[in-house]
Subunit: 370 residues, 2 copies
């Protein structure tokens, strides 16, 4: 009897691809004792390989996970979109896993709101995955970003002049949303090349779906993939790995600095200022602001002024995020404007933030006015 | 009477190029009260423009500097090398500045020692500039690295997978050598494009010297300049500026972390360990090592083990540098090997360093054995 390749593999030693995934899973000490996990599957090579490998490891009893496949039909590819959804559902069923799929009208959504198409797609995807995790009672969502995605992200951020936050690229583990308990895991991002995922799908006899948007050179990411990365590889055949290594080092630096900046901010906001003894209406006004209406308590100038620039700016960024709720549209220039308020001895100065908030310096304190 | 362009400019408002140089000089609060300064001039567009602009600002009394031109003939270009030297001497003389030039046999030097050609050239240049500064009683050497050099350096380091130290690129100010009081200043590195230096030389009517090594695509830097940067500029016309901005942000991060790591190291080495109560010869041996023979005092495991990875590694790197005298050939892998000694409770473990030194863990301390 001729056995199917997939079955053959689950009975013997796991494939090289699955073994690397397992090593990563264990190295990061991710849960594997019966946990529910949502696997985001578009039907492309990367996410198909991810699903097949998690399936292989589960069936070989090397990972004890309860897999739910989640597929969002972005509604951007017409009939092909529906075919992709059916294909993913069929694959999940064949492997014996539950599947959640949904059709979103990303195009309409982008047209109606303030997001562009890419942002609208991303937002729809995250909402869908959060909902899928909730429905499945899953503690984690697993996504198939590869080392190639990592290299591309680092390069795109570099082209924008990003600091460590952007250069750090894609994290292998983070919360799905800031306030969520659900983790977003990316077990392929540190090592898997696109050739690996395609090769593994081939070895498993699964013909993944092609996404022609991956060939559309109007997208900067596609041009980075097809033109820039190959040129970099003429300098160093392992350029993508080098970029990923840089990203990891820079990410560690940023994490350490964020932590230290949080401590600095804590120190700078420890004591609220005494009520200001001044009769002008401006100060009355400001006294109201000094009350902790926003999440940003007044900040002592002296504590921040003496800190290293990169700590000071991170602390200010965290403080602004507390005051505004987020950092949307806050650029380095805004942070630098607030930073300038720290210099010298003169109070009564103001820095404007996007969306109407502003920061005032008075009597040795910065006040956030939401 | 027809005046020469150079003279004309020194009488009026300084040129745009010189004004930007002046703004940078003032922003960085560099000395300008009669100080002696050595200007490193190869004869190429960048260093010629630097010399012409410093000369213009001096003669316009906007900077009060006593300029000495320094030219090292690397002896790599045969007759052209000698012509370059004569050309620089002639230009310096015409402008009325002293000149020091020297011929080095970089090729022979590289053949005899352990340096490759590029390293040997660099070493010869630094020695020559230090000597020129000493002879001229100058407190600073000024070099003509541009924003293009900065972008190229960042990219070359990125292609190697460097962390923040490499990505930080070229600093605008540092010591010429670790133990030297002489500063190395690079006033063009934050803003001047190669087109600016060429344009300014042209406007001053000075035909700079061409270096055909700048066209030799066997050098990775030349390929970065001629192929990679132009491709990046199809994504972002200001890609070089973006790279320089990233470099500056990352450099600030690295500086803050180095400072914090130094404090951590100070804390971890504050108390020398008590004499170890053990009779084995190995421990006797090690006791001798525990004495501060090298510059690296024993290091308390507990203090470092709890710190963030990026601080811990920097502290270890600083400690290793103290023990060995430098970090030549010390790679991330070596630092990670030492870092592993910090994990767990078990002593008696050893990590090897290049050149024969090693680090041992015993009784909660790391010992450096030179």
């Amino acid at each position: 009897m001729r056995r199917r390749q997939g079955e053959e593999r689950t009975e013997g030693r796991p494939s090289g691809f699955a073994r690397r995934l397992l090593a990563e899973w264990r190295r990061r000490a991710w849960a594997s004792a019966g946990e529910g996990v949502v696997v985001a599957v578009s039907g492309g090579a990367d996410s198909t390989a991810l699903l097949l490998a998690l399936d292989e490891l589960s069936k070989a009893c090397l990972l004890d996970l309860s897999l739910t496949v989640a597929h969002l039909d972005h509604g951007l590819r017409g009939e092909r979109s529906e075919e992709d959804a059916r294909w993913v559902e069929e694959l999940a069923g064949r492997l014996g896993h539950g599947v959640v799929s949904k059709r979103a009208s990303v195009g309409e959504r982008a047209g109606a709101g303030r997001d562009n198409l890419e942002q609208a797609a991303r937002r729809a995807r995250y909402e869908f995955l959060a909902e899928a995790a909730r429905a499945a009672g899953a503690g984690a969502v697993v996504a198939a970003h590869t080392l190639d995605d990592q290299a591309e992200t680092v390069l795109l951020n570099l082209l924008r002049g990003s600091g460590a936050e952007g250069l750090g690229g894609i994290r292998a583990e983070r919360r799905l949303a800031e306030s969520s308990e659900v983790l977003l895991l990316r077990p392929l991002v540190g090592w898997a090349r696109r050739a690996d995922t395609e090769g593994y799908c081939g070895a498993r006899g699964v013909e993944f779906r092609a996404d022609e948007m991956n060939d559309d050179e109007r997208f900067a990411r596609v041009r980075v993939r097809r033109r820039l990365v190959p040129l970099l590889e003429t300098f160093n055949p392992r350029a993508a790995e080098a970029l990923a290594r840089t990203a990891e080092l820079v990410r560690e630096d940023a994490a350490a600095l964020e932590q230290l900046a949080a401590r600095l901010l804590e120190e700078a906001t420890r004591e609220a200022p005494e009520v200001v003894d001044d009769e002008s209406a401006a100060v009355e006004d400001e006294r109201a602001g000094a009350v902790d209406v926003s999440g940003a308590r007044p900040l002592r100038v002296g504590v921040l002024a003496g800190a290293a620039a990169s700590l000071r700016r991170r602390a200010l960024r965290q403080w602004i995020a507390r005051g505004r709720g987020d950092l949307r549209r806050v650029e380095l220039a805004h942070v630098v404007a607030v930073e300038r308020l720290l210099a010298g001895a003169r109070g009564g100065r103001v820095a404007e933030l996007p969306g109407g908030a502003r920061v005032e310096r008075r009597r040795g304190w910065l006040f956030f006015r939401g």
